[in-house]
């Protein structure tokens, strides 16, 4: 019963919630600038409209350009299945853990960068090379953080890690988890093209990274790329929400269906909260120079490393 329900619930929640997060962040930014801003559901309308439109593909591009959106989207969607939105439902028993999830994201990024290079536009190539640089800088801190969380829980499966968190209270108040939380937050900001690293609201600017690779896409393929990016953001937010601020302990001991719904409700609140904080950070900072991104990455790695020292060496 639980295993059967897991996949539909997971897919439905992830796919429906992902564009909303972007909408909320945009709305908060607009309000802070005394604008009205687009409606919170704008991205859904955009997707609906784009789905009806045809696609234009450059003549010089190869099959990679056409295949990339599908690979990108499927890889990210598969990775999303490994990051449970609620610990109440047990995931399906296919082998796979956080390392697979991380490298599925890396596969998606690889094809996105290839697609950026494929059309031979100058913007695309620039965006791809920058994206690869940023991802290479952040991968160490992402993996070190996940490994430490895994070591504490004694498993590399994200579901097990989240279950362990539920049992040990509000984990963010423990020093090790707090450090890892900060490290992963920096990774979240950099991976999802948020402001100190990349500006999501710019279009056609020399500083853009993520947008530069999508410039040539249109219609249905653009929907896949955009939805994939939103999903990736939600994956990271889910990770932060469920590992570091576990709330499933509050909903235990009720009927099955009530538990699931309550748990999803708490999850929704956490996601909206994290989106709000991200928006506030975005309002208050400016975009870094590209060559200052290593500083941020070094700080993120240092946080993860300190977590490692706290956990391992000093013992906890």
């Amino acid at each position: 019963m639980q295993n059967v329900l897991y996949i539909p619930v997971q897919l439905a929640v992830m796919l429906l919630l992902a564009p909303l997060v972007n909408g909320i962040i945009k709305k908060i930014k607009a309000v802070s600038q005394k604008r009205k801003g687009p409606p919170v559901l704008q991205l859904y309308y955009d997707f609906y409209k784009l789905m009806k439109k045809g696609t234009v593909v450059s003549e010089t591009s190869s099959w990679i350009f056409r295949a990339a959106p599908y690979i990108y989207f499927t890889a990210i969607l598969t990775a999303a299945l490994f990051v449970p939105v609620t610990t109440v439902l047990a995931p399906f028993s296919v082998t796979g853990d956080m390392i697979l999830a991380v490298y599925l994201l890396a596969l998606a990024r690889f094809f996105m960068a290839l697609a950026g290079l494929d059309t031979g536009s100058t913007f695309g190539g620039m965006g791809s090379s920058r994206e690869m640089m940023i991802s290479a800088l952040l991968e160490p801190s992402l993996l070190v953080s996940l490994f430490i969380v895994g070591l504490i829980a004694g498993s590399t499966s994200l579901y097990e890690i989240m279950k362990f968190s539920v049992l040990s209270g509000i984990t963010i108040l423990q020093p090790v988890y707090f450090l890892i939380f900060l490290a992963l937050w920096i990774v979240l900001i950099a991976e999802t093209a948020r402001i100190p690293v990349d500006d999501p609201s710019t279009h056609l600017e020399l500083t853009m990274v993520h947008e530069a690779m999508l410039l040539e896409y249109s219609g249905r393929q653009l929907v896949l790329m955009e939805l994939g990016a939103a999903l990736k953001q939600l994956i990271f937010i889910t990770l932060l929400a469920n590992v570091f601020i576990p709330t499933d302990i509050f909903v235990q001991g009720r009927g099955f269906l009530v538990t699931v719904i309550l748990s999803l409700g708490f999850y929704f609140v956490k996601v909206v909260g994290i989106a709000c904080v991200t928006a506030v950070i975005e309002i208050n900072t400016v975009k870094l120079r590209l060559f200052s991104v290593p500083n941020l990455a070094a700080l993120s790695f240092a946080f993860a490393f300190l977590g490692f020292v706290q956990y391992f060496v000093i013992g906890r």
Binding site: L173, Q174, P175, F178, L179, L182, P294, N295, A297, A298, L299, F301, A302, F303, F305, L306, V309, Q310, V313, I314, G315
Partner: protein, 218 residues
């Protein structure tokens, strides 16, 4: 109880990492202010616990003194000094930031390896406290030698003092109040004198870059 103290000591260590990654003098001053504020919270917490248990208010007095001296007075003094000296945007550090952050990680390891073999410490958590506070001292020292400008070096000195204070506070529930107050007066006088010196360096060399002090040497 130990949970929160540990978290606070980690936060203080984190603020010194952020200091090592900072680039501008204004942000040094702000981070120092933040670190001192965390120190105030820590001292206030320990002071309240102590007051309830034994009824002495020494740590609370010291907490107030830190609030006035380190959170309000010294940062403002430094900001004023900084506003008066000519500000040229130039590179302030010898090593680039990723490398200095990694060196700070190395310093944490160093302090761990020097603290861990001590067997007589009361409990495991004491080792955490000592490792964190000694790391803060070492990072302050490293910050002091890695910056070229005089204000950066003053901040490094103050961070070392913060680290010493945390070490005393966490391992022995603070030093006798007279010693603490004496140290604060020392620091205050030191910072004021250094502020004046920064001013003089700026007047004579039209920059607060201390490399220029070697101009006349062969």
């Amino acid at each position: 109880m130990n949970h929160y103290l540990e978290l606070l000591s980690i936060l203080i260590l984190l603020s010194s990492f952020i200091l090592a990654a900072a680039k501008r003098i204004i942000s040094y001053i702000w981070i120092f202010r933040l670190q001192s504020f965390l120190l105030v919270i820590m001292a206030g917490y320990l002071g309240a616990v102590n007051f309830r248990k034994e009824g002495d208010i020494d740590i609370l007095i010291i907490c107030m003194v830190i609030l006035v001296v380190k959170v309000i007075y010294i940062p403002r003094l430094l900001e004023n000094t900084f506003a008066k000296v000519a500000y040229k945007v130039e590179k302030d550090f010898f090593l680039n930031i990723p490398i200095s952050v990694l060196i700070c990680c190395g310093l944490v390891m160093l302090s761990y390896f020097s603290i861990f073999p001590i067997d007589d410490l009361r409990e495991g958590v004491m080792k955490t406290y000592l490792v964190n506070s000694i790391s803060v001292i070492l990072i302050g020292l490293f910050f002091m030698i890695s910056r070229k400008k005089a204000i950066g070096q003053i901040i490094g000195f103050l961070v070392i003092e913060n680290g010493l204070f945390i070490a005393a506070l966490l391992s022995a529930h603070s030093m006798p109040i007279l010693v603490d107050l004496g140290i604060f007066v020392d620091v205050l006088a030191g910072v004021m004198i250094m502020g004046v010196l920064v001013f003089r360096i700026n007047e004579n060399f039209e920059s607060i870059n201390i490399n220029k002090l070697r101009n006349l040497r062969g």
